[in-house]
Symmetry: C2
Subunit: 204 residues, 2 copies
């Protein structure tokens, strides 16, 4: 309906499967582009600059803040994380729907700046499934699992600030649902403003 792409924000509980969802959307659909965050933290084993993150110095990050170069940014445990604006804007202007996988606070910052952004919250069908997935990863101690569930509890309060609740029970269905929701979102008047302007003008 509109030629400009949309900004798609994906958040969700740790263990909800949003990482897998995002990977599949990017690899299976040419229409999506992935926004890569910038951070001042050090790369972990196997992480590659420009793939997981753009790894920069504190000075470079602060220079980008000063130039108003971020869509959103925040500081966690002494490290900066942010979404560089230029890449997102460039891809959207090419008609790509740009996907941002970010946590709840960042997502709500985006919503405030870009009311036309479409916010998806990924959740398992119930808390028991979430608990099992977190334990099943086998990489987390019981203590960490409990911390993540506590975090999920806090995040669950903000779920209704999102545009769509995406239940990930089966990943194939979840990927298809995500695409359907994104397609349907384009019919919202705030995302087909050009069409409305044009037909109003024609009816004059």
């Amino acid at each position: 309906m509109n030629k400009q792409g949309d900004l798609i924000v994906i958040s969700g509980f740790a263990g909800a499967g949003k990482g897998t969802l995002v990977k599949r959307l990017i690899s299976e659909y040419d229409r999506f582009a992935l926004s890569i965050s910038m951070t001042t933290r050090s790369p972990r084993n196997g992480e590659k600059d420009g793939r997981e993150y753009f790894f920069v110095t504190k000075e470079e990050f602060e220079k980008t803040i000063a130039e108003d170069g971020f869509l959103e940014h925040a500081c966690y445990v002494g490290n900066y994380y942010g979404t560089p604006k230029a890449y997102v804007m460039e891809q959207m202007s090419k008609g790509k729907d740009v996907i941002l996988e970010i946590e709840v606070q960042g997502a709500l910052q985006i919503k405030e700046k870009f009311p036309q952004a479409f916010l998806i919250f990924v959740t398992p069908p119930d808390a028991e499934t979430l608990r099992k997935r977190l334990i099943g990863r086998g990489t987390e101690t019981p203590d960490v699992v409990e911390k993540r569930l506590l975090r999920a509890k806090e995040e669950s309060v903000l779920m209704d600030r999102y545009d769509a609740i995406l239940i990930n029970d089966d990943i194939d269905t979840c990927v298809k649902d995500a695409v359907s929701y994104i397609d349907a979102a384009k019919a919202s008047p705030k995302r087909c403003y050009e069409f409305l302007e044009r037909i109003r003008e024609e009816l004059k």
Copy 2:
């Protein structure tokens, strides 16, 4: 996601094809139920009580108003028109999505009373197509066509109060899009409130 059905309001320009759309949704999908309006105007040739409208006396209509029996009602050119509440509520509680085909003012009344109602505005791809369809019907004088276009101009101002703009270029696509938009709308937090309540409770 929720077992309760939703309230779907369909409006659009005269000549946009919303009548055909509604007929096809009702006849092709068992999940939908059609709300029939009540009116005090006389039946026209070929109209049948309980199909196009429920035809009632002024006294019966006013009794229903007094009993708070309408979702919305209005008076046009000396006749009452309204949406009886009981049928809509009954069908929704059975899990049916109830379709109301009503004009813009009534639709916005519904939105105010039921913020979780999903409002679809049907439009042709451009004003020229609308003009051609109105002329092509062959039942309207040029004068009436102009009046309908003037009405369309007025209605176009209120299009952005709707949840979805449905472009009817090809009726088959239009029917499919309507169903997709209605499906996607169910992922909105305000329409899957039961799920949110449950998972929040489970995470406590």
